[in-house]
Amino acid sequence: MLLVKEWKKIVFSLMFVLYVAVVAAMYYTQLGGDLLTPEPKPTPGMDNYGTVVKEDAAILMPAATEELLREYLNGYYVTYPFFYKEVKPKENEKARIAEILGELTGLSRKELDSFTDFQDSRYDIANDENGNPVYTYREAVYPEYEMQPVTYEHFRELMGEVDEILGGNSSYAPKTLVNRFSRVPKTYETALAEYQTMMQPANLGKAYTRLYCDYLGIVLAVIPVFAAAFLWMADRRAHMQALVYSRKISSVKLVCIRYFALVSAMMLPVVVTFVHMMIKVEGLYPEQSISWLPAVGLGLFWLLPYVLSVTAVAVFLSELIGPLFAIFVQCIWWFLSLEASELVGGITRWTLLLRHNRLGGEDIFAAQFANFLWNRAFYLLLSAACLLLAALVFDKKRGGAFGRRERWSVAYKNIFRNRKNKSAA
C-alpha cells in the first residue's frame, strides 16, 4: 500500500513530468534518425566505408614516432590515469626517451635539444578585416628525420618502455598503441561482412538495443539523482520527516519501499520508449525475423544498473549530508565518466557510462563483453551497498543520531551570543 502511495507521489510530481520529457526528447532527437530508414547494405565501389582499427606496422610506427617527437619537443607528455595529466620526466628519464627517439629517427639528443624552430600545430587569435577576433591555424614544424630500420617487435618494446617511464596510461601503452595510431580505411568485403553479422536474427535487435542504451544511458546516469533529491526535499518542505520517523514500519522496509517506488517509476518511460523502438525496428525490416529476447535482456542489464546505482547513491548521500550535495557529487561523477568514455570500444570495468555509439560493431562489443558484465555487476553491488547504508543512516536519524549539525549550529550561535555579551560588557 505504501509502495502505491509513494509511486503516485512520484508519478504525479512536476519532476516526473520533466523526467519523462527528457527521456522522450533524448530518444527522439538522438535515435529518431536511425529509426527512419533501414541500415543500407554496402555496395561495391563506394567512396568510403569508414575506418577500422588494424594493426599495421607501416602506419603505426611513423605515426607513434611523430607523436613521441612532438611531445619530447614540447617538454611534457599527456597521460590518462583517470583524467588528463601532463607528465614532465626527470633528467635521466628524458635522456632515455631521447635515446629511444634517436634509435627511431636517427636524431641525436644534441640535434633534438638544439632544434629551436619547433612549433606545434596550433590555433592563434588574430583580427579579421573588420577587427573581429578569429582563429588562425599554424602548421607544425619538426626537425627533418627518416624512420630508422627497427623491427615491429622491438618498436613495441620501446613504446612499452616509454609508457613505463611516463607512469603508464600514455598513448604508447601496449593496450592503446594500435587503437591510437593504426587506423586503416575499411574495405568493401569487411563492411559487407559486418553488415551480414548485424543482420542475423540474434544480432539485429541487439544492435539497435546497444545504440538505444548508449543514448539513454547518458540521461539515466544523472537524472535519477534529481528525482531522489526532489522527493527528499518534498518531505522536508512538507515537514513530513518527523512524521515519517515516528511510524512503526522498519527503517530498512521504508527506505526500500521508497527506493523501489523511485526506480520503478523511472523505468517506466524507458520501457515505453524501448517498446516503441522495437515496433519501429520491426517496421524497418519486415522481411527479417528478429529475436528480441536477448536484446531485452541486454537492455535491462545495461540500463537498470544506472537507475539502481544513481538512485541508491543519491538516497544515501541525501540522507547522510543533503540532497544538494548528492546532486553535486553525481553531476561531477557523471561529467567525469562522460569525458572519460570513448564513443565506441571503450567499455571498462569501472566507468559509470558505457558507450557504444554505433549501429553494429558486434565484434568490438563482443571483445569487451567481459568488461561489460563486470561493470554492470559492480554497479548492481554498489546499489545494494548504498541502499543498505541509506537504511542505516535513516535508522540512526530516527533514533536521534546525526544531529551533530544542529548541535554545531547551536554552539556557533552561542559563541556569537557570548561575544556580543562580552563586548557589551
Binding site: Y76, E86, D124, P133, I327, C331
Partner: protein, 206 residues
C-alpha cells in the same frame, strides 16, 4: 541609511547562504585544473576548460539563489521585512556574480601563467557562458519554486549543447571551442532576461 541596511543584508546572506555554493564553485575550478591541461595550450584548446567546465561555477552560484525561501517559514519572514525581496535577490546576485567573475579570472590567470594563449575574449566569453548557464538554473528554480528543478535544467541544457549544438544557434554555449570567437551578446542578453524573469516569478510567488 539604506546602504547600511543593504550591507547588513549582504553580510547576513554571505554568512548563511554563500559559503556552500562558493565552496562548490571553488571545487569546480580546482577540478578544472586537474581535468584539463593548463600549460602551453593554443587559443582553441584554451577555450575548452573555460567553456566546458568553468560554466558550472555559474550553475553552482546562481541556481540556489532562492534556496533559503524554499522553506516556507523563512520566506514568510523575508517577505514580512520592510526591504523589498527583489533588492535582497539583487544583493545576492551581485556578490555571486562577482565571485563567479573572480573564480573565472583566477583560472584565466593560471592559464596565462602556464603560457596558454588566453585572451580577454576568452575570459569574458567564459564569464558570460557561466552566467547564462547559471541563469538557466535560476530561472527554472524561480518558476518551479524548487532548486532541484533548477539544477536539473542546468544539466539538461548542458546536455542539449552536447547533442543539439547546431540547433541552439546563438545560445550555443561552446562556440569558442568550436572555432567561433567574439562577444557572446545573445548569451548575455538571454542571461539578463532569464534572471529578471526568474526573480520576478519568485517575487510574485511570495
Amino acid at each position: 541609511m539604506h546602504i547600511k541596511i543593504y550591507l547588513e543584508i549582504a553580510k547576513t546572506n554571505l554568512r548563511h547562504n554563500f559559503l556552500l555554493p562558493f565552496a562548490a564553485a571553488v571545487g569546480i575550478v580546482f577540478l578544472a585544473g586537474l581535468l584539463y591541461g593548463t600549460t602551453a595550450l593554443d587559443a582553441l584548446e584554451t577555450a575548452k576548460p573555460l567553456e566546458f567546465f568553468l560554466c558550472f561555477t555559474g550553475a553552482a552560484l546562481l541556481t540556489p539563489l532562492f534556496l533559503p525561501e524554499q522553506e516556507k517559514d523563512i520566506r514568510d519572514v523575508v517577505l514580512s521585512k520592510k526591504v523589498n525581496y527583489g533588492i535582497v535577490c539583487m544583493i545576492r546576485l551581485l556578490y555571486n556574480i562577482i565571485a563567479m567573475g573572480l573564480l573565472v579570472a583566477a583560472f584565466g590567470l593560471k592559464l596565462y601563467l602556464g603560457e596558454c594563449a588566453v585572451s580577454w575574449t576568452h575570459i569574458s566569453g567564459a564569464v558570460v557562458t557561466a552566467l547564462f548557464l547559471g541563469a538557466v538554473g535560476l530561472f527554472a528554480a524561480g518558476i518551479s519554486g524548487n532548486v532541484v528543478i533548477g539544477f536539473m535544467a542546468v544539466i539538461l541544457f548542458y546536455l542539449a549543447n552536447y547533442g543539439l549544438k547546431g540547433k541552439l544557434g546563438v545560445f550555443y554555449l561552446f562556440s569558442m571551442s568550436s572555432g567561433q570567437l567574439g562577444p557572446k551578446w545573445w548569451l548575455l542578453f538571454g542571461a539578463i532576461l532569464l534572471i529578471a524573469a526568474g526573480t520576478y516569478r519568485q517575487m510574485r510567488a511570495g
